[in-house]
């Protein structure tokens, strides 16, 4: 954790004392990545927005008990992942938003269409994964966390993360098939 002036941890301690301006700064700094995790995991804007809002409000409610023993981001990853998994349990079928297509004949349009098709296939494949595997994939490939970081967010062990990712990759390869994987840009 950092105790530098203006660090997330110090801001959180201020939030715990009732400083809503510190809370505003926390939101400003972390809303973008929180949104990306929630959206990539849930595949739905409305649900993702609800989860992000809920996560920050929970952060506020727990702020007086916050102790800066780990980095703020690790702490917030736990809240976000917990809320996402909870939402996935309550809502079995995830609605997939399709990216609207607009006819465009400019150069590169074929590549762009192929990329979109792959993205839609990836979305469907992610939604077919069990929630914990899906979250492990989101944290690994989109957030770039290492196994320790993922284990901390999911409150499990790095060994369990390795197994989750191995199963998830196997399933993704089976669902996506060689065509989708090979057509994606390298």
């Amino acid at each position: 954790m950092s105790d530098a002036p203006g660090s997330d941890e110090l801001l959180m301690l201020a939030v715990g004392k009732g400083d809503l301006r510190a809370f505003e700064e926390i939101i400003r700094r972390h809303q973008a990545w929180a949104w990306k995790i929630a959206y990539r995991f849930l595949g739905n804007r409305e649900d993702a927005e609800d989860v992000v809002q809920d996560a920050f409000l929970r952060l506020l409610a727990a702020s007086s008990r916050y102790r800066p023993i780990a980095s703020f981001k690790t702490y917030f990853y736990r809240i976000i992942t917990h809320l996402c998994l909870d939402r996935a349990k309550k809502k079995q079928s995830v609605s997939v938003e399709t990216i609207p297509d607009s006819p465009d004949l400019r150069p590169g349009v074929v590549e762009e269409m192929m990329r979109r098709e792959t993205a839609v296939a990836v979305r469907a494949a992610l939604d077919a994964l069990p929630p914990t595997q899906r979250m492990a994939v989101v944290l690994k490939y989109y957030e770039g966390l290492d196994y320790d970081g993922i284990a901390s967010a999911l409150q499990t062990t790095p060994k369990a993360v390795e197994r989750l990712l191995a199963r998830a990759r196997e399933r993704l390869r089976a669902i996506l098939g060689a065509a989708a994987i090979n057509s994606s840009p390298l």
Binding site: E24, Q31, L57, L60, L126, Y147, L165, A166, I181, S184
Partner: protein, 174 residues
């Protein structure tokens, strides 16, 4: 024929750089000789750019404003019980919530004990509840005035003196 290499299931972790040097070295050596495992590793590698085609839409506009508005509304309502509006504000039950369960029980026991003691001692110092009870207590505490419920120079003692004086005045025959 499928490869039975013992680290085959760990190719993903190898690619992620999560293995120890001995394991990594064993896999690297094996990959140099095994086309099946090399192909499997390549498939895992190619999965990454496919996954990265999935973008997240931009942050919804006004999300922070909505979160803050909700936070202010809840703070004003006191919904998140542990939030104070200003640093000086301290909700009355907050000290109790911050204690562990055994400490909460102990705090409740202290409050209860103080209440019972207050009742008992209140009866002893009351002139009107037990008009004849004062003299025997004073006698029995002879030499131990500071252990009495109304030690000399205490508020209780002053109260008793004042109350006795006013009763004497009331009892004077008109």
């Amino acid at each position: 024929m499928p490869c039975r290499f013992k680290y085959r299931h760990r190719l993903g972790a190898y690619l992620d750089g999560e293995l120890n040097p001995q394991e990594s070295e064993a896999i690297a050596k094996h990959l140099a000789d095994c086309a099946t495992c090399s192909a499997a590793l390549e498939e895992i590698r190619r999965l990454v750019p496919a996954l990265l085609t999935l973008d997240a839409p931009p942050l919804p506009s006004g999300l922070a404003v909505r979160i803050l508005a909700e936070a202010r509304r809840r703070t004003a309502l006191g919904t998140p019980e542990r939030i104070s509006v200003s640093p000086g504000f301290w909700p009355p039950h907050r000290w109790l919530q911050d204690l562990s369960v055994p400490m909460r029980v102990a705090a409740c026991a202290v409050v209860l004990l103080a209440f019972v003691l207050g009742l008992t001692m209140g009866r002893e110092v009351s002139l009107f509840g037990s008009p004849r009870g004062i003299a025997p207590i004073e006698e029995s505490l002879d030499g131990f005035e500071w252990f009495s419920p109304t030690p000399p120079l205490s508020l209780g003692s002053a109260y008793l003196t004042m109350a006795s004086a006013s009763r004497d005045i009331e009892e004077v025959p008109q």
